[in-house]
Symmetry: C2
Subunit: 649 residues, 2 copies
C-alpha cells in the first residue's frame, strides 16, 4: 500500500498491525537483529494505536523500552511456550510502559488479539500492569519495588528447585525511590546471579530531565559500590543488547545490571526527549496524542516499519484500522486542582513561610505557577516521597509551613510512617493528595486512591478534608493553612466534574460540620467530593419524582464529625446513607455510622454504607462508576433498595 | 573515695555522677582532648546508671557514640547558650542512643539534673528522642529519616536567612533503610554543605554483626558515588575527630559524611561488640544489665573515669548513689510471642512452602528457633521493611507462603504501600507485628503501635487478628496460615500478662465472630488482646460487687465483624463498650460501633468507645496504662461514669 495508504491516516482513523503481520514477520527467515528491529517497529505502531484509542497512556517510556522488550521476548526468555509460571520471568518495575509490553504480547500471540482495542477499558488491559493479565508477573505502577520482588521470586524458585532467570526493567525516575537502593544489598549477599536489572535510562522522568530534578549522578559507580555487576549499552541497538546479555552469562556470583541508554519517545521525531526545548516540559510522558500528533506520529512509524519490511523482503505491511473513540465533550466543570493552584499562591503571597514540595508531579499537582512565582520556596524532591515528608518535618521544626504534594495513592501510603513521625513532633505540615478516589479510572488500582482516608485518618491531630467545588477548595485551604491546630491532609479529586448544586453563600468551614446541599425529609445522605455528591444529587432528583425526598449533606471532613451537628442534621430521619469514594472500611461513612451509635438516638436510626467494596476496576470513568455502583443509576438502585425495605416505609 | 568506694557498688545500689562533678571538670584548665575524654567517661557512668535504673535502654549504641557526642557538644556546636532554636543543630537519626545524649545534656546543664533519674518514666526522659525535651531536635526511633530532616532544616534556615550547621548521627543498621539513600541526592543538588552526617560505624545492628545480616559493603565508595564528601576516622579518638571536622571546613560545595569507626558497647570490656563470640547474639543492644553485669560494668567505668580525674589533677571523683528500682516479680503470664514461635514451627513443619522473613528483630519476633531449624527457609532482610514486603510479594507470586515479621509500628507504616501492592496481586502473605499496642511503655511513641489497625485495616481481603492468650495464638495462626482467603495481619502484644480468664474449651476461631469470656446482663464490652481484656475483666469483677454485671466479649478480629453474631451477642443489652489498644479512630471499636448502627436495633443501643485518644506517653507500664485510663481503675471509672448516666439505669 505504501504512500497511498499513508495518506488515509486521518485524525479519526487509527491504524494497527494485525496479528497476521506479526506472524508473517516471525515466520520469515531473517537474522535475529533484523527480525527484532522490525518487530519493535510494528509494536510501536500498535502502542501508539492503543494509547490514542484509550485517549491516555505513557508513550515516552513505552517507546524507549521497545527494543529491550522485543529482544528479550524474541531471543532471551526461555520456555515462553510453557506458560507464565514456567518461563523465565520478565516484568517492568516502572510499569508505565505497559502498552509496549501488551503490544509485544499481542505480537507473539501471548494474549488474545482483540485485547489490543481494550487498553484502559473495563476487563481489558489495565493502565498499569496487573497479574490478572497472563504473562504479567507483578503489579506495578507504584515504583521501586522491582528488585525486591525479583529477589523474592528467586528465593522461592531456589527453594522449590526451579532455575529461572528474572529480568526487571527499571526506569530512571524510580531510581530516586529509596526502596530501589534498599533492595540491592541482599541480592549480593545471596549471590542472586539469576537477576538482571535493565535500566531504561532515557534520562527523563514524568515532566522533565532527571538531571534537573534529582540527578542520578554516576549510576555505574553507584551500582558498583553496592556490589552489583554493571554493564552499559545502547538500548536501541539489538546487536549490542545481545552481546551484553551474553557477556553476563559468565557472571555467576552476583546480580547484574545493564544500564541501557535510550531515548524517551524513541521512533517519532517530535516525541523524542531531546526534541524538548530547554526549560519546556516533556509532553509525551502520559496523556494521549491529539489528532494531529497521532497522524504525524503514526505516519513516521508506519514509514519506518514499511521500510524494514521492504528491506527484509516482506513486501507491503498490511495494516488494519478502526475509528478513534470520540473525544469527550468539554463541559463546564469544577476543576479543583486549578482552584488549588490559585488558593496556594494566594496563601504563599500572604505568608512567606509557605514552602511547596513536589515529588515529580509538578504539572498534575498544579504547582507550575507556584514554582515559577516562588522559586526559592519550591523544592522538587523527585520520586522520593519518604524523603519529601521528612524534609517537610525538618522545615516545620525550623518554623516553616511546608506543603507536601503527590498523588493521594502515593502520599498516604509510601511515607505513611514519616507522616506519623512528623505529626508526633506536633508541628504543622499540609499534605495535598491529588488524583484521589476511583476516578480517573484509566490508570488502574495502583493510582486509584481509595484507601488513603484509612491510612492517614488516625494520625493524631491530622485533619483530613475533601472539597467538592472550587469555592470549597479555597475555604478549606484557608482553614488548613491558617486555623488548623495540627497537620492536615487535603484530598483532591483531579477530574473536572459538572457539579449541579451550589454551596450556600454563607457557608463557612468548621471541622466536623458540613452543609446541606439538598433538603429532604425521608433520609439523610452524607458524602463529599465533586462526583460523589453530584451523582447522589442527581439520584435524589430522580427519586423526588417518585415522591421520595432525600436530604444530601456535604461533609468535607473525612476523619472528624461533630456529634451535636450530626444530631441536628439527622433530625427526625430514621435512615442515613453514607457515601464513600473510598473503601467502606476506614472511610468517612464508618466514622459517621460509629458516631451515630454513640448518640443513642431514639427511636433508632439505621445507617446504610455505600462505597467501594473491592479492588478498583480499571476502565473509562463511566465503566468504573457503573461497575462499582457509584454512578447515578447505581446510587439510585442502592437508595431505592434500602428505602423499600426500611421498616419505616 | 577510690578503691574504698568502688567496693560499695552492689547489685541494688546504683552510682551516678552529680552535676557538680561535671562542673568541676568543665571549669578545670585542661586541653580540649583531655576534657572531652573525661567528660565522655563520666557520661558513660551516667548512661549505665539511667539504663539500669529504668531496667531498659540501649547500652551498646550509647557507649559507641559518646566520644562523638561529647566532642560535638563541648567543642563544635555554636551558640548552645542561645537555646535550641538558635544553636547549631545536632540530632541522632538512630535515636537508640538517647541515654548517652541525655547524659551529655545533664553534664552540660542543658536539662534539669533530676531528669537523670527519670529515664523511660512518665513525663521524664522518653526511651527514644522526643522534641518535647529541650535540645532534642527531632523525633526519632523509626530509622532512616535523619538526612531528610536535616535537609528540610537547612532549606528553611536558608529561606529565613539563618546559617546553622546540622550534624546528624546515623547508625549502621539504619543505613539499610531505603530512605537513607533516597535522601542523599538532593542534598548534593542543593549543595548543602551545612550538613555533616556522622556514621557511628560500630558494625553491629540489633542482634548481631551488620555484615552477617545485610552487608553495607564499601561505605566510602557508596557515599562517594552519591556525590557526598567522605572522610573516615576513629570515632573514639577525639584528636582525630577534631582534625577531621576541621578538614571539612574547606568543603563548601556539598554535604559531608564522616564514617566514624567505633566499638559497640565501648568502655565496658564484656559489653564491647568484639567480645561477642562467633555465632552468638550481641546481648547489650537493648535491655538492661542484670545486677552482676551492672556491678562489674560500673566498676570498670568508674575506675577509668577516676584514672582520668587523677591524671588531670582533679582528685577524687565524688559519686552519688540511689537504690535501684525493684525488679518486677515474675508472674505466671501468657507469652504470646513464645506461643507464636511454637505455632510457626508447627506450621512450617507441615508446610514446606512456609518462608519466614525478618527485619533485624530475630529475637524480639521469636524467630531464632525457626532460623536454626529451617535455615533455607529463613530470610534476614536487615532493617529494610519495604524490601522485605515486596520480596514476600515475589515469593508468594512464585507459590510460597511468606511470613513477614517486624514490630507492629514499623510493619504497618513503613511498607504500607508495599503491603497494599501485594494484596492487589491476590496472593497470600502473613504479616506478623509484635510489640503491638501501648505496652511496653518504655520505648516511647515511635514503638508504641496504636495506629496499625487503621493503617492496614482497609487493605482488601486482609484479615487482621489479635490473640489474647497463647492458645488463641495457636488457633489464629492455624486459621491464617491454612484457611484465610487472602493475606493477614497477626497483631501480637509482646509483653507477658497474667490473664485471669480462660477461653472455652470448644472455642473455634471464625472471622468476625468472638467469644464471651464473662457473662453479664447490664452491658456488653468488646475488646481483644491480653492486657486489655484482662483489665476489663478485673474491672467487671469489681463492678459485680456493686451489682452491675458486664458481659465481656473477646473479638480477636480487628477489621471484621459478623453482623448476625453481633446482633446475637448484644441481645437485649442497651449499652455497649468498645475497648481499643489503639487510637479510637480506625480501631476495632469504630468498626463495631458502625456495624451496630447498620443493624438498626430497636430500642436503640448506645455505644461508648474507650481507647487511646492522644499520642502515647512514655513511662513504666503502670504509669502509661494509668495515664491513658486503660488500667483496671481507669476502665472501672469509664464504665461507671457511663452506666450511671445511661438512660436505662
Amino acid at each position: 500500500m505504501g504512500e497511498q495508504q499513508l495518506d488515509v491516516v486521518t485524525s479519526d482513523e487509527l491504524k494497527y498491525v494485525p496479528r497476521s503481520e506479526f506472524g508473517r514477520l516471525l515466520a520469515a527467515d531473517l537474522d535475529a537483529q533484523t527480525r527484532t528491529q522490525a518487530f519493535a517497529a510494528l509494536c510501536r505502531i500498535n502502542t501508539l494505536y492503543m494509547i490514542a484509542q484509550a485517549w491516555s497512556g505513557h508513550l515516552g517510556t513505552s517507546f524507549s523500552s521497545l527494543e529491550i522488550m522485543s529482544w528479550l521476548f524474541l531471543n532471551e526468555l526461555r520456555d515462553l511456550d510453557k506458560g507464565p509460571d514456567a518461563c523465565d520471568v520478565f516484568f517492568s518495575s516502572k510499569g508505565h510502559d505497559a502498552p509496549a509490553l501488551y503490544s509485544v504480547f499481542m505480537g507473539l500471540g501471548l494474549m488474545p488479539d482483540d485485547k489490543l482495542h481494550q487498553l484502559r477499558r473495563l476487563h481489558g488491559l489495565p493502565g498499569h500492569p496487573h497479574v490478572e493479565t497472563p504473562y504479567i508477573q507483578a503489579n506495578t505502577g507504584s515504583l521501586g519495588m522491582g528488585v525486591s520482588k525479583a529477589k523474592g521470586m528467586v528465593f522461592a524458585d531456589r527453594l522449590m528447585g526451579r532455575e529461572r532467570k528474572v529480568f526487571v526493567l527499571a526506569g530512571d525516575g524510580e531510581l530516586q525511590e529509596g526502596q530501589f537502593w534498599e533492595s540491592l544489598p541482599t541480592a549480593v549477599h545471596h549471590r542472586m546471579h539469576e537477576i538482571v536489572v535493565i535500566v531504561d535510562h532515557n534520562k527523563m522522568q514524568s515532566d522533565t530531565w532527571v538531571a534537573d530534578v534529582n540527578d542520578l549522578g554516576d549510576l555505574e559507580a553507584k551500582f558498583s559500590a553496592f556490589g552489583w555487576h554493571v554493564t552499559r549499552v545502547d538500548g536501541h541497538d539489538t546487536a549490542a543488547l545481545h552481546a551484553t546479555l551474553r557477556s553476563l552469562d559468565a557472571v555467576t556470583d552476583r546480580p547484574k545490571v545493564i544500564i541501557a541508554d535510550t531515548v524517551k519517545g524513541k521512533g517519532v521525531s517530535f516525541m523524542e526527549g531531546p526534541a524538548t526545548e530547554a526549560g519546556q516540559l516533556y509532553l509525551f510522558h502520559s496523556g494521549a496524542p491529539n489528532e494531529d500528533q497521532y497522524a504525524r506520529g503514526s505516519l513516521e512509524l508506519i514509514e519506518k516499519a514499511q521500510a524494514l519490511f521492504t528491506s527484509s523482503g516482506l513486501g507491503t505491511l498490511a495494516l488494519e484500522s478502526r475509528q478513534r473513540t470520540a473525544r469527550k465533550p468539554v463541559l463546564a466543570v469544577q476543576r479543583l486542582v486549578a482552584a488549588y493552584t490559585n488558593a496556594l499562591i494566594a496563601q504563599a503571597s500572604r505568608n512567606p513561610r509557605v514552602i511547596a514540595l513536589d515529588a515529580d508531579l509538578v504539572k498534575d499537582c498544579g504547582l507550575i505557577e507556584f514554582r515559577d512565582q516562588f522559586p526559592s520556596r519550591f523544592f522538587e524532591c523527585g520520586i522520593a516521597e519518604q524523603d519529601m515528608v521528612s524534609m517537610a518535618c525538618g522545615m516545620a521544626h525550623r518554623g516553616a509551613l511546608p506543603v507536601v504534594h503527590s498523588f493521594a495513592c502515593f502520599l498516604a501510603a509510601r511515607p505513611n510512617e514519616q507522616i506519623y513521625n512528623q505529626a508526633s513532633e506536633a508541628t504543622r505540615v499540609v499534605y495535598v493528595g491529588s488524583l484521589a478516589g476511583l476516578l480517573p479510572g484509566g490508570p488502574g488500582h495502583s493510582h486509584q486512591s481509595v484507601r488513603d482516608i484509612s491510612a492517614l485518618g488516625a494520625v493524631p491531630k491530622l485533619l483530613a478534608a475533601e472539597p467538592c467545588t472550587e469555592r470549597e477548595v479555597e475555604l478549606l485551604v484557608d482553614y488548613l493553612f491558617n486555623h488548623a491546630e495540627g497537620s492536615s491532609y487535603l484530598r483532591l479529586v483531579s477530574l473536572g466534574w459538572p457539579v449541579p448544586f451550589e454551596l450556600p453563600a454563607a457557608y463557612e468551614v468548621v471541622p466536623g460540620r458540613g452543609v446541606v446541599v439538598r433538603e429532604g425529609r425521608d433520609a439523610v445522605v452524607f458524602g463529599y467530593g465533586p462526583w460523589l455528591l453530584s451523582n447522589a444529587y442527581e439520584a435524589a432528583q430522580q427519586l423526588a419524582s417518585q415522591g421520595v425526598d432525600l436530604k444530601i449533606v456535604n461533609l468535607p471532613w473525612l476523619n472528624r464529625v461533630d456529634r451535636e451537628w450530626l444530631r441536628e442534621v439527622v433530625g427526625s430521619a430514621r435512615q442515613i446513607f453514607t457515601l464513600d469514594n473510598h473503601y467502606l472500611h476506614g472511610g468517612q461513612g464508618e466514622m459517621i455510622a460509629a458516631a451515630v451509635s454513640t448518640l443513642g438516638l431514639e427511636p433508632s436510626v439505621r445507617v446504610t454504607p455505600i462505597g467501594v467494596t473491592e479492588l478498583p476496576e480499571c476502565g473509562t470513568n463511566e465503566e468504573v462508576l457503573a461497575y462499582h455502583q457509584l454512578d447515578t443509576e447505581g446510587l439510585l438502585r442502592q437508595f431505592s433498595a434500602q428505602l423499600a425495605g426500611a421498616p419505616g416505609r
